[in-house]
Point group: C2
Chain length 197, copies 2
């Protein structure tokens, strides 16, 4: 059974389209309880979770995000722009209305290593979501100001990500990954391992 | 079996003391292969891994880190200083020599969301390490310059963390965590869930 974290990680892919099949609250609670067990800088536990199920709130969030993306996309260029175009990503974020649950994850700005700790916990979350047979995408709005207003988020917290959570209706294949020995060195930079993939 | 990611996360605690028991290379490879499956901004896979087993390199790394901590600790104050004192943390980092493997994790600075993506992958790594019965601590040197020099790390990469990996000889209990409903809101900030822990 030592392989199954690897298997989960390998199987897990980004989901941007969700089925109408409802998700039990209990599953969402399990996901967040898992995140709460992560380590954090000075054990500050800088994460906060806000779960949105309300239809009207989701609609407003989607609108605010899509507006923000339009602003952002009109300014982006270089490699990232090319990638976005190639992947046919655009300003539309229908998953923000379609997923039964939206989980907003915030970090407390003044906590030590708050971004790092919160994203480590998001790693825990993604594996738990996969384990439960659910899907998500780590969507970070390019411009978060209106989202923070809609949700009454106080000063001092940063929106790290919105995770729409639901059953997948996304048939896209997983993006390819580098192989182990393409990103790993032994004892000094540039010295690749003589170990098979 | 849907509970076992939560169980792993709950059981997992920081390990700062390591036993002399050797660790198989195969285990370290599994750990990194798991990280390589994580999602990343624009699928840039900004992570790089450098595994150090060489005794002399470990000794130099430890010395550089301890020197950096001395500089850092002489300037730190406020809540973080109090926490460090209370936890009896200090400039000594013996685990950098004692653990059989040191895994250095870097992020490519120019990749989109490189810090976030790399720490998400570190979340995957911690669960895999726990699954294998091994332990680690997410140690980020306060001053990384000398470490980067020792390892010949080129410009453009940031040291995110050093993970010493080995079998635990650390008897300290896990730090307490907030309960689910202390860090979770429903539909709007400040509205806590009426759901038992």
């Amino acid at each position: 059974m030592t392989e199954d974290i690897f298997d989960l990680a390998k199987r897990r892919k980004t989901v941007r389209k969700f089925s109408l099949r409802p998700v039990d609250w209990k599953e969402i609670i399990k996901v967040i309880k898992t995140a709460c067990q992560a380590p954090s800088g000075a054990n500050s536990q800088p994460w906060r979770f806000l779960i949105v199920t309300d239809t009207e709130t989701k609609r407003r969030i989607r609108k605010a995000c899509e507006q923000g993306e339009k602003e952002f996309y009109s300014n982006v260029n270089g490699e990232l722009r090319e990638w976005l175009l190639r992947k046919e990503l655009n300003c539309r974020k229908p998953f923000l209305e379609e997923a039964p649950f939206l989980t907003f994850i915030f970090s407390e700005k003044k906590a030590p290593y708050s971004i790092q700790s919160t994203w480590l916990a998001i790693g825990y979350i993604l594996l738990m979501i996969e384990k439960l047979g659910l899907g998500t995408v780590t969507y970070t709005p390019s411009i978060a100001k209106d989202v923070l207003n809609i949700l009454d988020v106080p000063e001092g917290y940063r929106l790290e990500v919105i995770l729409p959570i639901g059953f997948s209706a996304d048939e896209k294949a997983k993006e390819l990954r580098f192989k182990f020995n393409e990103v790993t060195y032994i004892n000094s930079w540039g010295r690749s391992p003589k170990i098979s993939n």
